[in-house]
Symmetry: C2
Subunit: 236 residues, 2 copies
Amino acid sequence: MPGGLRRSKLLPEPTVARLPIYQRLAEELARRGRDTISSEDLGRLAGVSAATVRRDLSSIGRLGTRGSGYDTADVARRVTELLGGHAEHPTVIAGIGNLARALINSPLFNGFPSKVVALYDVDPTIVGTSVSGLEVRRLSEEDVTRFEVPPAIGVLTCPASAAQDVADGFCELGIRALMSFSPRVLEVPLDVTVRYVDVTIELQILSYHLEHGRGPLNGGLLHTLGRSPLQVGARP
Amino acid sequence: MPGGLRRSKLLPEPTVARLPIYQRLAEELARRGRDTISSEDLGRLAGVSAATVRRDLSSIGRLGTRGSGYDTADVARRVTELLGGHAEHPTVIAGIGNLARALINSPLFNGFPSKVVALYDVDPTIVGTSVSGLEVRRLSEEDVTRFEVPPAIGVLTCPASAAQDVADGFCELGIRALMSFSPRVLEVPLDVTVRYVDVTIELQILSYHLEHGRGPLNGGLLHTLGRSPLQVGARP
DNA sequence: ACATGTGAAAGAGTTCACAGCC
DNA sequence: GGCTGTGAACTCTTTCACATGT
């Protein structure tokens, strides 16, 4: 087993959600030739407090230098490594509608953390067709041994009514990470991680805030970004 | 001013994120003829603890009956009301690519909490064309007075590089609720709510858990659903 | 009996504030 | 002087446990 500190102390979930933001910013800064950045500046860019940045980054090791700040390239590298390096996890998608097609063609889904390797549907007019070079198959007829590397991530873009069955099928294939766009809570074994991307709920939350005003919270979003009251004022 | 308890005591954000789930479940149960449900059963369906269900529901009023549980139709109605009733907030979308097209055609975006009323892009080959019956315009040339009812929700499906400009443009139109699919933290005035839907971050979070295992957390998802360790075991 | 509503306790995460190092 | 790393305080949520009501 290579690497060093695998299974260190398990980071707090909100920290895990913020790390990709730091990584993205640090990478961009490094690319632009900026070598170091203070927790205060990085916090401003990420929309969180300087204290949170320091706590987050110190939780994955000592990577700052007192007096000058964090090395941008270093932060980008260390965080990337912690988040699974440059692995391209084999990813499968079930429910090949417009959303799935949009995702498949997005560079976000084909490169860094994931790479689409199989597509599933049940509609006979879709099964057998080819989308972006991949044949659409039936999940129920899939055979895990067909894969060189077994799929690691399963994406659900199917109707809510089919979501639980698809989730079951994914779990049976040995997939332990799911991302669901279906408006439904899934039951999965304890070792499976599920991330929900539920546009309906997001809209309802926005609707609530339109009606009742905003709490003193930050964007309060998607990724549990933070509760900080730090929300920059309108731009000049 | 109609209604009753506007601006009651501002609910905790995690509660706001869970209410749509209860609403959805309660509605479904009522439709199927189930009149009441206990906090324990509702919690199981929603993936949270019974105590959390009770705390959440009691925070919006007294809607349970001791001894028998919650009236499903009642829960559905009260929560819907709190989340903005059946209002269809006029919604605009900037960045008309595959994702936007998928959203526009989705029933989720055209009906209950939102209704798409305008589309924007900057690509000259797209501006002027019609998508699902709406002409694509330039945000920079938009005139608020054109709208009968001013837009309330702005959706960003544009490249990250354009996101901040679009957000500024939206804010200038008077929009106070944004939903961004662009991988970038936005600066907005304090009275504007932003919800991020960042697929890249979600994938990186999954990647992290594939590498380091799951904490004892729930799906831990998107909408700050909950931190409960209540994750049902594999289905039979 | 049974199940809600809610004080009180526990747990999680964030912010403060400063010692320690560059 | 400037900025990180971190114990301690604080705030926000969840869970416990039981009084209360049907």
